[in-house]
């Protein structure tokens, strides 16, 4: 079964290298294992994540693209739609009917015609516009709603950390 998944992953890799979406790099960690990818996502401009470069891992199931992959940030990002351990919780990573938070919109679900690029673009939108209706990280959602300044401060310190800059003096 993995043969089909491998063929598809190789095609997607080729697509992503020849036509890379802006601000995103994604590739298999090891050429011998196409089922584990690493990616770098640039924080969207004019948001508190701007300029940050956030590393994440994508793990593909053996029956990809029939089933969706899983994605996990490895940089300790504090965000309403990302679990404390880094797992990304957005609708495109879930098949219809599988809705861990119970609030996801019915659009943008995983289906085999979706792609890694679509996922990554959705993740960028998620960074720009958190969905606090379906929080994976409740305290992040609460802070995003009630204390935006503090939320932005935390985001800023992470942005600096990802760029290896000293912490802000503010």
């Amino acid at each position: 079964m993995a043969g089909y998944a491998l063929k598809r992953l190789m095609t997607e890799y080729k697509e992503l290298t020849t036509r890379p979406p802006e601000g995103i790099i994604a590739a298999p960690i090891d050429e011998d294992n196409f089922f584990e990818w690493e990616c770098l996502i640039t924080g969207p401009e004019e948001t508190c994540f701007a300029n940050g470069v956030f590393p994440a891992r994508i793990t593909f199931p053996q029956d990809y693209p029939l089933s969706p992959p899983k994605m996990r940030f490895t940089c300790g990002i504090f965000h309403p739609n990302i679990y404390a351990d880094g797992r990304v919780c957005i609708s495109i990573l879930h098949a219809p009917g599988d809705d861990p938070t119970g609030y996801e919109l019915s659009n943008e679900r995983w289906s085999p015609v979706q792609s890694i690029e679509k996922i990554l673009l959705s993740v960028v939108s998620m960074l720009a516009e958190p969905n606090d209706e379906s929080p994976a990280n409740v305290s992040a959602a609460k802070m995003w709603r009630e204390d935006r300044a503090q939320f932005e401060k935390i985001a800023d310190s992470l942005v600096r950390k990802t760029l290896c800059l000293p912490a802000s003096e503010i």
Binding site: Y4, D63, L66, Y83, A95, P100, R109, S115
Partner: protein, 275 residues
């Protein structure tokens, strides 16, 4: 066997903790393992195998009906109940026809190419969508060129990866047919959902069961004549209730006949001697 997976999947209404998610994963895995105990597509069995599933005392209605149907139908192929059973039964039924009818096979390959172009025009993501169409067309071409024996064809239909890739073609043309005939079908979509959303979440995603609208769409997209023989609790005489698609036309022999039991479809074959 009579229940498809989606009915068993827990539907969450509130936010789940990580423990809940873990438990849900384990439960889904267990359901999946149970499903995988039966083949995707069973061998052709004598129709009496169906009656054998029911206890003559506690399930007398089903037992009687299965025996009544055995007068009309000679064989049955059980299809795995994984949410794909309708599409899979049609896939197998069509492939069986195409293996015996070269003219139709060649036409079906041409239609496959037309669909591939049409799907892209309808706004389906280009290369992910074409990937499934090309895979299906190549499979039919191998049959056309005599590269597969019948046994090898069925091996492919029972291999998870190959079979589900082939099946995706049917999901895509079902969805494509509805999108192409949006004005006609949009009124049948439940409120709060657009036809586009319905297609994406109910048809294009794997392991989602087909409902009446998707059944109609696939029948019309493939141009097959389909009979659905209902095996429910109604005590209709003479084998019970049946439904012909695309039109109720008397005396037209269907290409494919499916047996419907609540939540599930299997492929059945008419007794040619009795006709």
């Amino acid at each position: 066997m009579a229940n498809d997976s989606d009915e068993n999947k827990p539907t969450s209404t509130a936010a789940m903790t990580e423990d809940d998610l873990l438990l849900q994963d384990q439960q889904l895995k267990q359901i999946e393992d149970e499903q995988k105990a039966s083949p995707l597509v069973g061998d052709k069995l004598p129709f009496y195998a169906l009656a054998g599933l029911y206890d003559p005392v506690s399930a007398i209605t089903f037992f009687t009906k299965a025996n009544e149907l055995a007068a009309i139908y000679s064989d049955i192929r059980f299809i795995r109940g994984d949410g794909n059973c309708f599409y899979r039964a049609v896939l197998v039924g069509i492939v069986e026809i195409l293996m015996k009818d070269r003219e139709r096979l060649i036409k079906f390959i041409d239609t496959g190419r037309e669909w591939m172009a049409k799907l892209v025009k309808l706004g389906f993501p280009d290369w992910t969508c074409s990937d499934f169409c090309e895979f299906f067309i190549e499979f039919l071409e191998k049959i056309r060129d005599g590269k597969y024996t019948e046994a090898e064809v069925f091996q492919n239909l029972n291999d998870d990866g190959t079979a589900n890739y082939l099946l995706m073609y049917f999901r895509l043309i079902t969805s494509g047919f509805l999108k192409d005939n949006c004005e006609e079908y949009a009124p049948f979509i439940a409120e709060g959902m657009t036809l586009q959303q319905y297609c994406e979440t109910e048809i294009e995603a794997m392991w989602k069961e087909a409902d009446h609208l998707s059944i109609m769409a696939l029948v019309r997209a493939t141009g097959i004549r389909l009979r659905i023989q209902y095996m429910d609790r109604s005590e209709a005489p003479n084998g019970g209730y049946q439904h012909d698609l695309p039109d109720e036309a008397d005396n037209v022999t269907p290409d494919i006949t499916l047996l419907y039991r609540p939540g599930h479809y299997d492929l059945i074959y008419r007794n040619l001697v009795a006709q």
